[in-house]
């Protein structure tokens, strides 16, 4: 656990560093560089650096072991991930890689750090991607696979650092769902990136390109967050991390821009646009505090047609073909309830529909999962949740009945399991089920006055 604390500490330090750095940048910018031109200037230097980094990375004389081991470890991790090996091993690999990266940062070598920053883009992109996929409520594993694919593609685009990003990206997205892990990795990368930037600034003697400004803007956001985070003791670590992650995304984006620009103008422009949009979106989301942990509200799902729509259509069709066109009052997909197809029967066709639902071999709803009534003041409603073990499908059957004279056929002859639930509905709501073999007040006892779940129920003994 102390190790973890150390990590947190390191992360917080990184955030602090980043803040200081951003401040320096802004000051430098204020010193009087025009925003458009340095951008061009910046690129070659960065690019030169990254090109420098590529050969240097494999056999760096100053840091012989660490830079070499980093990708190796990452690759290991990736391999493991591919083989779907134990998660613990992955976590270890990730932690190791992280530590290695921190080592890089500490010793501040411009060369190995430079390639490491590109993966940060992948990672943050991954994060974005994942968050989006999650928001779209697509299966997480699928999202991971997609993210992985995307990462590979991006890696192809951002040429200078093709070697490292692929393993790193696949390692971080291993099973695709480990956002926390990814975040941690992103944090580590962000630190490396920060270090690289500092070096780059020193080397190029250059200040504040256009991206930097943007970065600074986002960093401000992150800074504010970090400041707030520092105050909250309990959540400090997590928030600092999140802030660092946000920064990582922003910084990474900036670097991706510069790195890629020298390589391929078109690809660069594209990547930059995408990355910028993503970074902006991410920052916004972060600022809204909603992107953390991937808990984005999937409001956009409402537009899509439900996966259960064909089933509903099928049920409706079969019922209408066999029982006539007007047995159902309504039918719809209940989006709030895991997209369950819902049929609303008419009062006089309820029993017939229920019977049909069970005995028709196309439908075969042999299991009554739930039956209860509800008092909607304007009417009473009986809700039946049916399930077919044959087709592995659910359906909800509802019927609206008169509130003053709540009487409906019993489903007990069709499903024996409806026996007690109907008694319960009778007991608590006063719905009378005709044809029920033993309708009695199952919970409250025969001497109870009134039906408690009716909205107009008044307790008999008032003082309680």
């Amino acid at each position: 656990m102390s190790g973890e604390k150390d990590l947190n500490q390191l992360k917080r330090e990184a955030v602090e560093k980043a803040k200081a750095e951003a401040l320096a940048k802004r000051q430098a910018k204020a010193a009087g560089e025009v925003s458009g031109a340095p951008m061009q200037e910046d690129i070659p230097s960065e690019q030169a650096l990254s090109q420098d980094a590529k050969p240097a990375e494999s056999a760096e004389p100053a840091q012989p072991t660490q830079p070499v081991e980093t990708p190796a470890e990452a690759e290991n991790g990736a391999d493991l991930a591919k083989k779907k090996a134990a998660a613990a091993a992955k976590a270890k690999a990730a932690a190791l890689a992280k530590k290695k990266r921190e080592g890089i940062e500490d010793e501040a070598p411009a060369e190995p750090a430079q390639p490491a920053e590109t993966p940060a883009v992948e990672a943050s992109d991954d994060g974005d991607d994942l968050a989006k996929k999650k928001a779209a409520a697509v299966a997480k594993a699928k999202a991971a696979a997609a993210a992985k694919r995307k990462a590979m593609e991006l890696a192809g685009n951002t040429a200078p650092a093709e070697e490292t990003p692929t393993p790193v990206a696949s390692e971080t997205s291993d099973d695709g769902d480990d956002l926390a892990k990814k975040k941690a990795a992103a944090v580590a990368k962000a630190k490396a990136a920060a270090a690289a930037k500092r070096k780059a600034m020193e080397l190029a003697g250059d200040a504040a390109p256009a991206e930097e400004m943007e970065t600074a803007g986002v960093t401000d956001d992150a800074k504010a967050k970090a400041a707030a985070a520092a105050k909250a003791k309990a959540a400090a670590a997590a928030k600092a991390k999140a802030a660092a992650a946000a920064k990582a995304k922003a910084t990474g984006t900036g670097d991706a821009d510069t790195a890629a620009m020298g390589d391929d103008e078109k690809a660069k422009a594209k990547a930059a646009a995408v990355a910028k949009a993503k970074a902006a979106a991410a920052a916004k989301a972060k600022a809204a505090g909603a992107a953390k942990g991937g808990d984005v509200s999937p409001a956009d799902t409402a537009d899509k047609p439900s996966p259960n729509q064909p089933f509903l259509d099928k049920y409706r069709k079969v019922i209408e073909e066999n029982l006539g066109p007007d047995v159902l009052e309504d039918s719809y997909i209940n989006k709030l309830s895991k997209d369950v197809p819902t049929l609303v029967a008419k009062k006089d066709t309820y029993f017939k529909v229920a019977q049909f639902l069970k005995f028709n071999e196309l439908l075969g709803f042999d299991y009554l999962s739930e039956l209860h009534g509800t008092d909607f003041v304007t009417h009473m409603e009986v809700y039946v949740h049916l399930f077919s073990y044959k087709n592995r499908q659910s359906v909800a059957l509802k019927v609206k009945i008169d509130r003053d004279e709540p009487t409906i056929e019993s489903l007990q002859p069709i499903w024996a399991g409806a026996n007690w639930p109907e008694c319960e509905a009778y007991d608590l709501l006063g719905i009378k089920f005709t044809g029920h073999p033993n309708l009695h007040r199952i919970l409250l006892g025969e001497d109870w006055v009134g039906h408690p779940l009716r909205k107009d129920y008044e307790p008999y003994d008032v003082e309680v």
Partner: protein
């Protein structure tokens, strides 16, 4: 033929083997039951009525008291229902904590079922062994939630407390221990001739009966229906774990006994994987509004509790309290088949059959 007088015997509400305040009015001819009428409602607390005046978060403690042997799944089902309605995505760490808590609860619940079942059959020691092992789980859940039975641990959007330091490791340590204990359980009880004599071929029902009577959980799976909501309608993060759905074909008390014990093993598998994949850090609460208001509409969700599928129906009018809340309580449904099973059996089998259904009266009576 000698005609003997039939006798009306009240088994319960205070009877050692009814597992709570449950009354069974049986007509017996000698010791042979000719008619059985369950009488329930002694523990009815009107949870659903109370819930109409409570905010969603305030309802959670009430769910603890339904199936008090597995309160975690009850906590989960209401949170899950509200989350489904609001479209809240629970943070990963919270999901892991929930799954670990629920599976621990499942093991604990099955341990009680096992221990009390053997106690019903007259052996006293296994009960104590089961409770010793359950106690370890209870202690772990106590560390997690601050309560031993009524956890009130989950919230809409996540969980209330993060795992204390080293907690996941203690769960990890528990898994091999429990596996070892399970071997002992089998050695002590499963092969015992007297035990087999009591449960083999007793209380048999068919697959069709089980489905028709809306049975669920081990009671259903003991007839060979391979159905487990964790596997077949995955919720939370159960789709990430590799485990089997335990079934038996005999449909008798022994089959239910075996299903429960083997489900402990499967739960341990899930726990093992969940502990390995447990994210080192992360949020435990999604960003949810201060006052939770489910959108207008209705939802019914069901999940796999130790006793079968527990469901939660919420009809909301967009206010902070549910308009109507209904729990599908597995024990309530599972108990329906009892009168049918008891006819023609003797008093000793009554205890064996009732014990094998494994009810919790808090849940039956709602």
């Amino acid at each position: 033929m000698i005609r003997t007088e039939e006798m009306l015997l009240n088994v319960g509400p205070q009877h050692p083997s009814t597992h709570g305040v449950f009354r069974l009015v049986v007509k017996i001819d000698g010791e042979i039951i000719t008619e059985a009428t369950p009488v329930i409602g002694y523990l009815h607390r009107g949870t659903e009525k109370l819930a109409e005046d409570l905010q969603y978060t305030q309802i959670i403690p009430y769910t603890d008291r339904m199936d008090y042997l597995s309160a975690m799944t009850n906590n989960y089902v209401i949170c899950h229902a509200v989350e489904t309605m609001m479209g809240i995505q629970v943070p990963e760490r919270a999901d892991f904590l929930r799954v670990i808590a629920m599976e621990l609860g499942r093991v604990a619940s099955h341990l009680v079922a096992w221990g009390t079942y053997i106690l019903d059959l007259g052996a006293t020691s296994p009960f104590i062994y089961a409770f010793r092992d359950r106690e370890m789980i209870i202690n772990m859940l106590n560390e997690l939630s601050g309560a031993r039975l009524t956890f009130n641990y989950m919230r809409v959007g996540g969980v209330k407390w993060d795992a204390p330091e080293g907690w996941v490791d203690s769960v990890k340590e528990f898994i091999p221990y429990m596996r070892e204990q399970l071997k002992g359980y089998h050695e002590l009880v499963t092969g015992n001739e007297i035990f087999l004599d009591r449960v083999k071929g007793v209380g048999v029902y068919t697959k069709e009966d089980a489905i028709n009577y809306s049975l669920s959980g081990p009671n259903l799976r003991s007839t060979g229906v391979k159905w487990d909501l964790r596997k077949d309608e995955p919720y939370s993060i159960y789709d990430r774990f590799d485990f089997n759905v335990v079934t038996r074909d005999e449909g008798d008390c022994l089959a239910r006994y075996h299903v429960r014990l083997e489900e402990i093993e499967e739960s341990l598998k899930i726990l093992e994987q969940a502990c390995e994949q447990f994210p080192a850090e992360g949020e435990i609460m999604a960003k949810v509004p201060k006052i939770i208001k489910a959108p207008k509409g209705e939802a019914f969700v069901r999940i796999e509790a130790p006793r079968g599928e527990i469901g939660c129906y919420i009809a909301s009018d967009g206010k902070k309290e549910p308009y109507r809340l209904k729990f599908r309580r597995p024990s309530f449904y599972n108990l329906q088949i009892l009168p049918k099973l008891l006819i023609g059996e003797n008093i000793a089998n009554l205890v064996a059959i009732l014990g094998a259904v494994d009810i919790v009266l808090g849940e039956v009576d709602g």
